[in-house]
Symmetry: C2
Subunit: 237 residues, 2 copies
Amino acid sequence: MIRKRIECISCQNESCLIKKFCHDEVAQKFLKKKNTIPCRKTQNIIIEGAPIHGIFFVYSGKVKVLNTGINGREQILRFAKDGEMLGQRGFSTHQYYPIGAVALEDTVLCNFSTNDMRKMLQEIPQMAYDFMVFYADELNRSETKVRKFAHMTVREKVIDSLLYINRKFGQKKGYLSIRLSRKEIADFAGTTEEQVIRVISVLKKDGLIISDAKKLGIPSTDILKQEIDEHHYFIQS
Amino acid sequence: MIRKRIECISCQNESCLIKKFCHDEVAQKFLKKKNTIPCRKTQNIIIEGAPIHGIFFVYSGKVKVLNTGINGREQILRFAKDGEMLGQRGFSTHQYYPIGAVALEDTVLCNFSTNDMRKMLQEIPQMAYDFMVFYADELNRSETKVRKFAHMTVREKVIDSLLYINRKFGQKKGYLSIRLSRKEIADFAGTTEEQVIRVISVLKKDGLIISDAKKLGIPSTDILKQEIDEHHYFIQS
DNA sequence: CGGTGTCTTGATTCTCATCAATTACTGTGG
DNA sequence: CCACAGTAATTGATGAGAATCAAGACACCG
C-alpha cells in the first residue's frame, strides 16, 4: 500500500482531469495542497449523506459508486478506476454527499477540498470547461441508463452490465480483470441476485460467457452486443 | 406567435444561464449572433440523431425532451420551460443529438451555434463554471431517476412523476398548468398508458388528486410525498 | 472439520405489460 | 347545431416476466 504523497507530475493517469494541468503555473498552489489517501478493500471512501468535504480522484484501484434506499437495497450507479473522479457534486448546491463510494480493492485517492477545487476551477478557465464537458458526458451516460432501466428485460440488463464492466475494466488472460459478486452485478443492473445468476447460467450454457472459479470471461462481445442493439439502438456511452 | 428577435437585455427569465451575462462586454458579440426561433405545438425542435447544430434556450413555452428505442417506445427524459436549456450536448464529443425535443405548446427559442457557444464558454470563465454546476445538478437529477426506475413500483413512479410535473410547472386555479396525455405521463414515468390510467383512477377515488375535464389537480402534495418518502428517502431533485 | 458467506436451483406469488373492447371527448364539415 | 370521424381515455381479462421465498451446494477460512 502506497503511503507516501503522490505528485501529479509523476502520475501516469493521462485521462485525469487534473493531471492535464500539472504544468500549469496557476494550478501549482492547489496541487501542493492536495492529500493522498490510501484505503483498503471494502472501505468506505464516501459515506452517503455525510457533509461534503472535497472531491476525490482515483490514483490507483477500483471503486463502486452507489446509493441506498431505506429498504436496504443499494443501487450501484457506476464504477470508477484510475484517473476517474468521485464526489463530483461538491459544486452544486448540495451540502451532503448524495452518493456513497466503496473501494472494491486497495485504492489510493487524491483529495482536494471543495474550496480549493472551486477556486482552481474559477482561476483556470480551461479546467472549468473540461469539467463541464466531463459532466455533460456523464449526464449522457446516465440518461442512457434511465432509458435502459425503463425498457430492457432482465436478461438485457445483465448483458448490458457485463459489457459495461468489460469495457471499463477490460480482461486479463481471457477473464474480467475485476471480480464482482452476483449481488453487485445485480445492484448495478437493477435486478436481483437470483436473476443475475439465472441469466449468467444460461449465457454460460450457450457459450457466450465462460467462467473459471469465480472469474467471468467474455470470449467475444459481438453476439452479446448484437442482442442489445437489436432491440435498442442506443448510442453507447 | 412572436416573430421578432428577442434581446437578452429585455428577457425576464432570470434563471437563464445566458441572461445572467447580458451586460457582460465579452458576451455581446455572441448575443448579437443568436437566433430567435418560434415553433408551434407538437413541432420537433430537435430531431434525435440529427447532426448537432447548436444549443437552445426556451424563451417561452414548454418542451419535452425524449429519446426513442427502436421498438417505437419513447422515453421522456425531462420537461423544460422558460429559461431552460435544450440540446446541451454539443460540447461533448457527440456529433449527433442523442435526444429529441418536441414543443408541448407554442414555444419561442433562442439558438446559439455550437461554435459560438464553445467560444463564449472559453472566453467567459464564469459562464463555463455556471454551466458546469448546471450539468452537475442535472447529473444528480438523472442519477436519482435511475434509482427510482430501478426500485419503485408503478404506483410510486406515477405519483413521483405527477409531483415532478407539479413542482416544475405549478398549478393554476387548483389544476396543473400543463396538460399532458396519459401516454406522455407514462413515457415519463417509465410505464404504460394503461397503468397510468389505473393509478390515476385510484388516486382520484381516494381524493388524492382531482380532475375536471382533462385537467388534473393536486389539492395537497403532502400525503403523496409521504408515500414516496416512506419507502425511499430520496434527496429530491 | 464445523461454520459462514456466496452461489445456485426450483417453486410460488405477484406485479405489470399486453391485448381487446368500450366509452368519452374534440374538432371538422355539412 | 348536429353527425361524423378520429383520437384519447378507460376498463377488464390474460399471460409473461420478474421478485420473492425456500432449500441446498459449494468454496473458503479459521
